[in-house]
């Protein structure tokens, strides 16, 4: 039933889209947006159908058999929808149409919606031709489903993929708006304001999605920690960087009527980078830890979609080169600083892009397989980010469009930051951390000064400072946790002591080994506790054996100690001994707190508009 309905709705939607195009220019069908609503709903409903199929374990759908198990808990059953490639493309279509229908409420310009519909129809075709989740199979009573990949069975799997996708697809609205503005040459402020609003929405979800993904990778063994420069992580960072640049340059466009073409072209490339990134990982051209099942046909279709987007963009690029706008602002003004910020952000995005696709080129041209690892990014990316972060401390106070002399204040801050960083160097004797302090300190100093001085400003002001401040805190936390983490292995023999001494003087006690059976897995759990000044911190790392695959996962257990965290895993568990691996991660919680503050800051700036 569901497979039939799903396919039917998609074909109907395609039919409606054809009618929409045929009736272009004839006002009868287009007048009240019934057709438009039908098309958008046609993109939304199939996803909900599949969700239902998963919820009731309808094993007449092949996708449900392959990705869900009859005894999985309900919320894993439902979220298994985006556990497979087919399902995530369906989610992608759902979100395009969802954004379309929401956007319809604030802007009913048919030209703009025509383009959203066209992109959506490309994805629908892609889904029907190469990755259809609605494949019908004869129901067989023996089948209980193969189950969701155990390693994906995590609370974050429920929210991370949709959040990230919301971020990617949110960029479609700035894309269609920008291409509409460039095509009609109607540079009205209304469009730019809408663009800013939607790119902020996308930024909110994108940042949140990246943070969630980072936290998930951190809490899963073998995924390389909170940030590992894996291709999948990189391709989410590229649109993020471009979108960040876009938000900054749009401020100039709205406030001062300048950098308009710049913003528009940025908007075009932000969305393309999001689609291109998806293509890279989905086509398996680039090897990632988080690989997805692939087949060449899928990649080919995505090439068609990207080809279309590129053609649109390049045509508009050429148009905008010929079109002139007179950007005039003095060298030391907010505009030029924001432009500088943009250049650095774009350069950083390019660096990440080059690192990500370099293995592909080296494979093609030099026949050598290379993986560009952390050393490259840590060097190139951080080199580009350092000036941005220094700029962040001072640029917000420089006034619009005029030259102003406030140099002495800047120098005082920089000298203060230098002193603080020298002190940290002598105290911690770590070069990297001292550099991080030097870069981040100016923002913190300026934030404190400004928040106390101009207390009665509006929300927008706070959101901006909060965003910059949380970046500064993030840098300090990230460098600190990377530089000062400590790791130890503790071997508990069967006949040996149950209490071992840790390097920092605390002791680790093994308390219990439990074996529990859950609906779809068996859990072997080791309970250990850290004794620190009469306080007890209990950790429960475990190994889970999943049904029906028999796959084992190694589950991490963490315990917080203020901003620091102990991170425990079972290294091995045998009949005569248990080995626990314990990592002490200082300030790691500060990293998460600053990330959440960053997400919250953009939330502040979105709600002030309403």
């Amino acid at each position: 039933m569901i497979p039939l309905l799903g396919n039917l709705i998609f074909y109907l939607t395609l039919f409606f889209i054809i009618i929409f195009y045929l009736s272009w220019g004839k006002k009868i069908l287009l007048q009240d947006q019934i057709l438009l609503h039908l098309i958008y709903l046609g993109g939304i409903v199939p996803f909900l159908l599949l969700v239902m199929g998963f919820a009731i374990s309808d094993f007449s759908i092949l996708n449900v058999i392959q990705n869900s198990y009859i005894d999985d808990p309900l919320f894993y059953k439902i979220t298994s929808v985006w556990g497979s490639h087919e399902g995530s493309i369906l989610l992608w279509i759902f979100l395009i149409n969802f954004f379309g229908i929401v956007f319809l409420r604030s802007n009913n310009n048919l030209q703009i919606h025509k383009q959203i519909i066209f992109i959506s129809s490309l994805f629908i075709l892609y889904l029907l031709l190469s990755s259809n989740p609605f494949v019908y199979v004869e129901k067989s009573s023996e089948i209980d489903g193969l189950g969701l990949n155990p390693i994906l069975q995590h609370v974050l799997f429920v929210i991370h993929p949709p959040t990230l996708f919301l971020g990617y697809i949110g960029l479609i609205i700035p894309f269609v708006l920008a291409s509409h503005i460039l095509a009609t040459k109607n540079f009205s402020k209304k469009f730019f304001k809408q663009m800013l609003f939607w790119s902020k929405i996308s930024w909110f979800f994108l940042t949140f999605g990246i943070v969630l993904g980072s936290y998930w990778a951190y809490s899963e063994l073998g995924w390389g920690g909170w940030w590992f420069w894996d291709p999948v992580e990189n391709i989410s960072l590229i649109p993020w960087l471009l979108n960040t640049a876009l938000i900054h340059s749009l401020q100039v466009s709205i406030k001062n009527d300048q950098l308009k073409l710049w913003s528009l072209n940025l908007a075009l490339y932000s969305f393309i980078s999001a689609v291109f990134g998806t293509f890279l990982v989905r086509s398996n051209l680039i090897v990632s830890v988080h690989s997805f099942a692939t087949d060449p046909l899928r990649g080919l279709f995505l090439v068609v979609i990207i080809g279309y987007l590129f053609l649109v963009t390049i045509r508009l690029n050429i148009k905008s080169i010929i079109h002139f706008n007179q950007d005039t602002f003095s060298l030391v003004s907010k505009e030029s600083f924001l432009l500088l910020n943009n250049i650095f952000f774009i350069a950083a995005a390019l660096t990440v892009f080059i690192g990500t696709v370099y293995p592909l080129f080296s494979e093609l041209f030099f026949q050598s397989s290379v993986s560009v690892g952390a050393p490259y990014y840590n060097f190139a990316f951080n080199m580009l980010m350092a000036p941005i972060i220094l700029l962040m401390a001072f640029a917000p106070q420089i006034s619009w469009s005029k030259h102003e002399n406030r140099n002495n204040k800047i120098w005082i801050t920089i000298i203060a930051a230098g002193c603080v960083s020298m002190l940290t160097f002598f105290y911690f004797s770590n070069f990297y951390f001292a550099i991080a302090i030097f870069i981040a300190a100016p923002i913190i100093i300026q934030s404190l000064v400004i928040i106390f001085k101009k207390f009665n400003k509006d929300l927008r002001f706070y959101s901006q400072w909060l965003a910059h401040l949380s970046i500064a805190i993030f840098i300090i936390a990230a460098v600190f946790t990377e530089q000062f983490d400590q790791e130890e292995n503790f071997i508990f023999e069967k006949e040996g002591k149950s209490e071992l001494l840790m390097n920092n003087g605390n002791s680790l006690i093994i308390k219990n080994i439990k074996d529990t059976l859950f609906s779809n897995y068996q859990e072997i759990l080791v309970e250990v506790s850290i004794i620190n000044h009469q306080q007890e911190y209990i950790l429960t790392p475990s190994k889970n054996i999943y049904q029906p695959s028999g796959q084992i996962t190694n589950e991490v257990s963490t315990i917080n100690q203020w901003l620091n965290q102990y991170y425990a895993t079972i290294s091995t568990i045998e009949s005569d001994r248990v080995v626990i691996n314990l990592v002490y991660k200082p300030l790691i919680n500060l990293l998460w707190i600053s990330s959440i503050l960053l997400v919250f800051s953009i939330f502040l700036s979105i709600i002030k508009r309403r």
Binding site: G83, V135, V289, S371, P548, V579
Partner: protein
């Protein structure tokens, strides 16, 4: 008159774009040239055995975990990675292994080669994708005629 001046401006702009493009290419060349040593090479155990050992080079090695070599000894995980060409390399890893690491299964490690030809892994990666299913399940699906994979 105006058209001519606009044309000139377009020309100027194109020259400007060309210069930017040139600078961009040049800087990419510079970056990739200077960072040549910072790129982690992806090698197989056979290639690694043939290589001149430069202990400061960060490497990524991929292959299969050799059967009967995966052991926890002296505070560390020890195992060998082998490939189809017969090469194999000893690896040490002091942290916990991800659950997906098993004998005779694929593995990717990153780290440095030490002087005694032992690879000191800093990161062990566990690849995961949606098609993780066990062979028995695949066989069952093939029997029922609903298997779509290779």
């Amino acid at each position: 008159m105006r058209i001519i001046s606009i044309n000139r401006q377009i020309k100027k702009r194109f020259i400007f774009l060309f210069i930017i493009f040139f600078c961009f290419c040049f800087s990419i060349f510079l970056i990739s040239y200077t960072l040549k040593d910072q790129i982690a090479y992806f090698v197989s155990p056979t290639e690694l055995q043939k290589m001149d050992l430069d202990s400061n080079r960060y490497l990524r090695v991929g292959g299969l975990v050799k059967p009967k070599t995966l052991k926890f000894l002296n505070d560390k995980w020890n195992f060998e990675i082998e490939d189809e060409d017969g090469g194999s390399i000893k690896v040490e890893f002091s942290k916990s292994l991800p659950g997906l690491v098993e004998e005779d299964k694929g593995i990717i490690v990153e780290g440095y080669m030490d002087k005694n030809s032992i690879f000191l892994a800093e990161i062990v990666l566990a690849k995961h994708d949606e098609n993780y299913m066990p062979q028995s399940a695949i066989d069952k699906m093939k029997d029922e005629g609903i298997w779509r994979g290779d």
